[in-house]
């Protein structure tokens, strides 16, 4: 594949700008719940994780998946079902959900990796649709009702997560942990090869790398972390529903990453925060939210391809 303009910034190892940005992010996440509704903050964190996982695939791997909702949603359903029907403790439920997403990622990855570019996007979209209809029909998902009244349970059988504060702590730890994992992956040899494949796959092949394997691995990683976001989200809201497997959710994560900045580390976080806030603020206006999201899409694609963090990174000439 020829050099993809979807790649944004070349990364260098742990620059100061990135460390500062990380410190700011942690500070905000620690202090904000004092003023901002904690459930809202947890929603932002879950979607930020989802967007970061998505960005791993497209920003660093150059593969646009239009079906990422299948990971978010299936993990959410499994996690909710484990917590409610099996009575598992939250850490086991989240683990189960994440593993389910990994499974989905392996199977769909094997099918989709064979093609590139637009074909890849279309295939992921169709596979996600299949998962959607499966979730619609399967008895354990509760169809249109979803799985409701999911108990949050006691973390490690010790810490009661019913209080929003305790849950917030868990979500924060999960988010930061996963974020750091992505950071590490991006700067690792694996991450470098991935970027090489994105820039010029033919060259990477000629250098002896099995590019299909790298892409598949990135796909599975991205799917797993998306599943982690979904499994956690199901416990935060105590609900798993069809919205999370619907293709519009796949579109939303693309939007979040695009707005924040493809290929940047902090872009998806900012993008998620922006889009979720906008949805919240405009919720009373119903269908206008869709229109505005569409407008943002169009503007970003035509004139603002680097995204918010991308523009900032470009201005200070350091990767973010």
């Amino acid at each position: 594949m020829s050099t993809s303009p979807l790649s944004a910034n070349p990364a260098s190892d742990g620059s100061r700008a990135q460390l500062i940005a990380f410190a700011v992010m942690v500070a905000v996440l620690l202090i904000a719940p004092i003023w901002v509704y904690p459930i809202f903050m947890m929603k932002v964190m879950c979607f930020a994780l989802f967007a970061c996982a998505f960005n791993l695939l497209i920003g660093f791997g150059g593969l646009l998946s239009f079906g990422h909702a299948m990971f978010l949603g299936s993990a959410g359903y499994v996690s909710a079902w484990c917590a409610k029907s099996l009575g598992l403790t939250p850490e086991l439920s989240i683990l189960a959900g994440t593993l389910a997403a990994t499974l989905v990622a392996i199977v769909s990855g094997l099918l989709a990796i064979r093609r590139q570019g637009i074909y890849f996007a279309m295939i992921t979209l169709a596979l996600a649709q299949m998962i959607f209809f499966f979730c619609l029909q399967a008895p354990f998902t509760g169809g249109e009702d979803g799985i409701q009244a999911v108990p949050r349970g006691k973390l490690f059988s010790l810490i009661d997560l019913t209080s929003n504060t305790a849950m917030y702590g868990l979500v924060l730890v999960i988010f930061l942990g996963a974020f750091l994992l992505i950071w590490r992956i991006v700067h690792s040899p694996f991450g470098q090869v991935l970027k090489a494949v994105r820039e010029n796959e033919a060259r990477a092949i000629s250098l002896g790398y099995d590019t299909d394997r790298y892409k598949l691995f990135a796909f599975i990683l991205s799917g797993t972390l998306s599943g982690l976001a979904g499994a956690t989200k199901a416990l935060v809201f105590q609900l798993a529903s069809l919205t999370d497997v619907h293709w519009t959710m796949s579109g939303e994560v693309v939007l979040m990453t695009l707005v924040g900045g493809l290929g940047t580390l902090f872009g998806p976080v900012v993008g998620a925060a922006v889009i979720i806030s906008m949805q919240n603020y405009l919720a009373q206006f119903g269908a206008w939210v869709t229109v505005i999201q569409g407008v943002i899409f169009v503007i970003c694609v035509l004139a603002f391809r680097r995204g918010i963090i991308g523009e900032i990174a470009h201005a200070i000439r350091k990767p973010l």
């Binding site: 279309m122 869709t290 169009v298 035509l302």
Partner: protein, 294 residues
């Protein structure tokens, strides 16, 4: 006489219904295949443009008193023109970039169009009556076929075949296909390539709108009528082979029939069967049934 517990008469009836639904799949995937095969753009807005065609005919009837037959002509022209505007003003800027940006742009446009119409018209369907000349039906023995549905099948077949003929067998089509392979060379021959591209996009969009007008009397005219349909159509195009015109037509009709059969034997799976087939085809022949590895 029965096949798998279904009387053969009922089976024929379902096959015919499947063929009718397949007509819509064929028309829509034809439009998509034309746009993609010749322009390498994934037109996510296709579903919204199908909806625009239906709404156009609804508005023409209710605001201007213009009936169905004229709408068949006017609606595609109006929507096709809007498509050409989109291509000129927005899509043309993205040709130098990765094709995925075109996908994202058309996705955003689909959101805008559907959102605006939802605001204006709500989400419940609006009625549009079957034109008087086509009401009633024929008793075919094994089923009662409404005249309008028969009309749908015949018209789609004609439109599909004419389009295929023009693109694959005429000089104009040859220019079009050459222009996508090597635009600069073709331009050097004095052919206005950008204009051809714009017109082709407009034509693909017009096909979608045409399908929309045909759908208005039998399906509900509602702002989201194209939203879920578009993904099925994408699957059809992937199965048929993304650039293949004949592939899109054959797969569209074929899939309608398969879906119809599924509705008889196992209706709960009628939504998923097409994606399962897509997964199988991708495993066996990644380029699609009629496609060639590009």
């Amino acid at each position: 006489m029965e096949i798998f517990g279904i009387p053969i008469q009922a089976l024929f009836g379902q096959l015919l219904i499947g063929l009718i639904n397949g007509s819509f799949y064929a028309l829509l995937s034809l439009g998509l295949a034309v746009i993609f095969g010749l322009l390498n753009i994934i037109n996510f807005t296709h579903g919204a443009q199908y909806m625009l065609g239906a709404f156009c005919s609804y508005l023409l009837l209710n605001k201007l008193g213009v009936g169905y037959w004229w709408s068949l002509l006017i609606a595609p022209i109006i929507v096709g023109a809007s498509g050409m505007l989109i291509e000129r003003l927005m899509l043309a800027r993205l040709y130098k970039l990765d094709h995925l940006y075109g996908l994202l742009l058309t996705f955003g446009l689909a959101l805008i169009i559907q959102g605006l119409f939802r605001n204006e018209f709500g989400s419940s369907g609006l009625p549009y009556r079957v034109p008087a000349e086509l009401t009633g039906g024929q008793n075919l023995g094994f089923m009662f076929l409404p005249n309008y549905r028969g009309w749908v099948v015949v018209t789609s077949l004609v439109v599909c075949l004419v389009t295929w003929y023009v693109i694959e067998r005429t000089k104009l089509g040859a220019y079009l296909r050459a222009a996508t392979e090597n635009p600069q060379l073709v331009q050097a021959f004095g052919i206005n390539v950008p204009r051809m591209i714009t017109l082709t996009y407009g034509f693909g969009v017009a096909l979608a709108a045409f399908a929309g007008v045909m759908a208005a009397p039998i399906y509900q005219v509602n702002p989201l009528m194209g939203a879920d349909l578009i993904i099925v159509v994408f699957a059809v195009v992937v199965i048929g082979g993304m650039g293949s015109i004949m592939g899109a037509i054959v797969t569209g009709f074929g899939l309608g029939i398969i879906e119809g059969l599924t509705k008889v034997f196992y209706p709960e799976a009628s939504n998923t069967v097409i994606f399962i087939i897509m997964a199988i085809v991708l495993l066996v022949k990644p380029a699609g049934l009629f496609g060639t590895q590009k």
